[in-house]
Symmetry: C2
């Protein structure tokens, strides 16, 4: 039987999503908590493997078990065994012996969404210290808005790809890319079929090198054309990055798989 979960986490005190021998990851914490309910070893598959310090408003995962439990047990039961910085928001038991058995949190995902929260102020945020990126000089939001448009559509994103990235192809399709600024807070919204390793943080880094006047908006087009990570601006902090949603075909009949940042402290 396949169980799907929607999960929220604060990535600050974890070594990223992916399981590690010393059990420091979100995946480890979640597998241990589910094991306490299922009473057998669990292997979870996630829609997106977030880096150290990256948060998720909505991560989608699945696992298999032969144990029958009510859907609430996979939420309230598992939550009782989790640290308070990880919470299962909903669970869905896939009907057995139907095509729903084939749902895969990662391979069935059509689109991922990320938000990046940046505090643009002379002094770094204290309350959001581990929950936002920070840039101290004034940013030209209009220039960044213009630049971010170049990212839309299908591109080779090699300029924004970590050297350790294991994806077979650097080609991705960016379906949404925009910026909202309110007071000292800047929120970047990105949706794509999938993302390369460090892609959002590298795109934010390049946008800041445009917002601060170091480069013109057209610089973004040059980076895409050059396809050379070593010529691109540095990776921006993981602190402000949030996985906010994963889109699946409606046929899977899942609860809501998107949750935006709606509050800034």
């Amino acid at each position: 039987m396949r169980i799907v979960l929607g999960v929220e986490y604060d990535g600050t005190s974890f070594c990223g999503w992916q399981s590690q021998p010393n059990l420091c990851s979100v995946q480890d914490a979640l597998e241990l908590a589910i094991k306490s309910i299922a009473e057998h070893e669990i292997r979870i598959h996630a829609a997106g493997r977030t880096d150290t310090g990256v948060h998720a408003m909505m991560q989608v995962v699945h696992f298999d078990t032969e144990v029958h439990r009510p859907e609430t047990a996979w939420v309230r039961g598992v939550n009782a065994f989790l640290p308070e910085t990880v919470r299962v928001i909903w669970s869905k038991i896939m009907p057995e012996n139907t095509e729903h058995d084939e749902f895969h949190a990662r391979f069935s995902a059509i689109r991922r969404s990320y938000q990046y929260l940046l505090v643009n102020a002379p002094v770094a945020p204290a309350i959001l210290a581990s929950k936002a990126g920070w840039y101290h000089l004034p940013l030209d939001i209009a220039a960044m808005q213009k630049a971010i448009g170049y990212l839309l559509g299908e591109h080779d994103f090699s300029a924004f790809r970590a050297s350790e990235c294991q994806a077979k192809s650097p080609i991705r399709t960016m379906l949404r890319a925009n910026i909202h600024a309110a007071g000292s807070h800047v929120i970047f919204n990105f949706s794509a079929n999938a993302f390369l390793q460090h892609q959002v943080r590298n795109m934010v880094g390049a946008l800041i090198y445009i917002g601060n006047g170091k480069n013109q908006p057209e610089y973004m087009e040059t980076l895409l054309t050059n396809q050379d990570r070593t010529l691109s601006p540095p990776t921006f902090s993981a602190n402000g990055l949030y996985l906010t949603g994963v889109e699946y075909d409606k046929k899977w009949n899942l609860p809501d798989t998107h949750r935006q940042i709606d509050l800034v402290l």
Copy 2:
């Protein structure tokens, strides 16, 4: 020479504002950092002495020193010696040998403002685990709006006063008391000339006992009339409480002494 600072902090890892022998408080962290710049012992006075786990978007403090430093040294210099969860936002050096010497962060304050952030959802927040209160059952916001109105004006707030509270009088004047709800977030706004110990958390506790249907809105009036803490609902969590501003006479010519929690839509 009197120096005034605007300070933001995440109260999660501190034992409240007030100095303790084991130096676990925000005041201790700030006094140590200022000492590193001033090169002598420092005693800070604050507008509001927040409890363990309570945050400040804007705390106002002052201290005295004979050392001359540029205003930026009291911001960037002090911040370099602070943990990342405490930040000086601005500094103001009071002109010497004028009536400005008499400014006192606590005694000159005319009004304090607090916001309380509540997550009203079946599952507790993970990312905001230490930054918000949480209530799992649906709340009747309209009933709470009606109830909160009874708190406006001058009242004996003994019903909402901690037994350890050392204030001479339980009489306070509530100048603002309202509620904003957006999605699963509920924000309570309170401004008064001053607050009793635990007053906001006790008022929020009583409002939740109205929102959940246990009591009618008029119950708030009964509590005020009874003036008996032992008959009132329990104190709500410190996690969601934020000191957001302190008002002073314009003659002091201070930078902005208010900073609200923002909702991003």
